[in-house]
């Protein structure tokens, strides 16, 4: 029997990937950010999941041009890092888990989620940076990944409520998968940031802190947030945080916070990380 044992929320700032790829993690600008990632790497190495269901958003890099799925799922054997305009990241090819991915497709579509199925998919920093944050710089993909891609770029994004419901359906789907499989689910993006317009550089630490707190204790408040709430208070690009609600929906109602990290700035962004274990 398969089981989701924990969820992880993290920012996926491209500059964090660049800092790792260029060996700058010990420079003063980056040092304290990366120090905060120590505990989660240790935790993940101990938990040793068989698969990560990695919910993220593509940044107009790897999806077919002109085509914007609300929710897409990668069912391939592997996912190559995308060239986002400055060459692909020097990270290993991401290993897929087609068996679990197709099981999710069947369960979720029959449950009324209108997924877009991607036989082949390249993955941008939205997926590769969380892998680097949590696994460091291994030579080979350290764990199988099922990518679930979410439109957060073009309004209307899915609502937070819909993302949470998708998470709940993923919980049910994994519970009906008959292979003995330990799953951790990631929700990535955010936290508060805005990287376009005269308001660029917006950071809202108070709002982020409340989001992290309520993710454990009061997710219903977050489920009720509107698109306007995110964009106004967490920055236009902070709306990526809806993706974390898929992760939260896939966990039990009762969860325990295992670790947390929050740092400003990573480039233009407040970088946050949280690990929640089912109880």
């Amino acid at each position: 029997m398969a089981k989701i044992i924990a969820g992880l929320g993290t920012s996926h700032v491209p500059a964090i990937g660049v800092a790792m790829d260029e060996g700058k993690t010990q420079e003063p600008y980056w040092k304290s950010l990366f120090e905060g990632y120590g505990p989660v790497r240790k935790w993940l190495a101990e938990v040793k999941p068989d698969v990560v269901i990695l919910c993220y958003n593509d940044h107009c890099a790897a999806m077919p041009p002109d085509t914007i799925p609300t929710f897409a799922i990668g069912v391939g054997d592997e996912f190559k890092p995308a060239d986002e305009g400055w060459g692909p990241r020097p990270v290993p090819v991401v290993k897929g888990d087609p068996d679990l991915a197709w099981h999710l497709v069947e369960s979720l579509v029959l449950d009324g989620f209108d997924l877009t199925i991607m036989h082949q998919l390249q993955v941008d920093h939205g997926l590769t940076v969380p892998m680097s944050i949590t696994c460091g710089q291994p030579k080979e993909g350290p764990v199988k990944v099922v990518p679930i891609e979410v439109n957060v770029v073009l309004y209307p994004q899915p609502t937070g409520r819909r993302c949470y419901a998708l998470g709940q359906a993923i919980r049910k789907a994994v519970a009906s998968y008959d292979k003995d499989t330990k799953v951790v689910i990631f929700g990535t993006g955010g936290m508060s940031h805005q990287i376009h317009g005269e308001r660029s550089g917006l950071i809202n630490k108070e709002w982020d802190t409340a989001f992290l707190n309520d993710l454990t204790a009061n997710p219903q408040r977050l489920v009720d947030l509107t698109h306007v709430d995110y964009i106004r208070d967490a920055g236009a690009e902070g709306i990526e945080l809806i993706v974390w609600l898929i992760m939260r929906g896939a966990l039990n109602d009762q969860v325990k916070e295992v670790c947390r990290h929050y740092h400003v700035p990573a480039s233009n962004t407040a970088a946050g990380l949280i690990v929640l274990e089912n109880r």
């Binding site: 491209p14 500059a15 940044h59 107009c60 890099a61 041009p65 002109d66 995308a82 060239d83 986002e84 305009g85 400055w86 060459g87 770029v153 073009l154 309004y155 508060s192 805005q194 990287i195 376009h196 317009g197 005269e198 308001r199 660029s200 550089g201 917006l202 950071i203 809202n204 630490k205 108070e206 709002w207 509107t226 698109h227 306007v228 964009i231 106004r232 208070d233 236009a236 690009e237 400003v264 700035p265 480039s267 233009n268 407040a270």
Partner: protein, 133 residues
Amino acid sequence: MKTIKEQLEDIPGTYVFTKERSRLGLHLNLFCTSLLKAANREEFLRDEPAYLAKFPLTEEQRRAVLERDWIGMVRLGANIYHLSKLGGTDRKTFQYMAGCMTGMTQEDYRAMMLAGGRSIEGNRSKSEQKTGA
């Protein structure tokens, strides 16, 4: 009650990528998408006007690209994630592009971020800004 669109447009210094901007900027964004290929990046950098002529851009959009008028491109329908492909072609970071859009110097923008970023206070609503609240 304000519509969602009115609420989004009330946020200062913010150009939410709505259907209106998405339609306005479609070909500008498709131009950016073409830069995902290294060969296209090289071709573009060799002769920018010739490369741009392949895309049905408005004169204003063409000018904004050639001048790297980042905020101008956003106002003409470009999305920041598409623009990042043009930024990447120029070997410029998100922080560089964002800094340009604010009208601050790169040093001042970086310093603001190191000091905790732009405050939300006074930045929620255009009306809030007008009354100086």
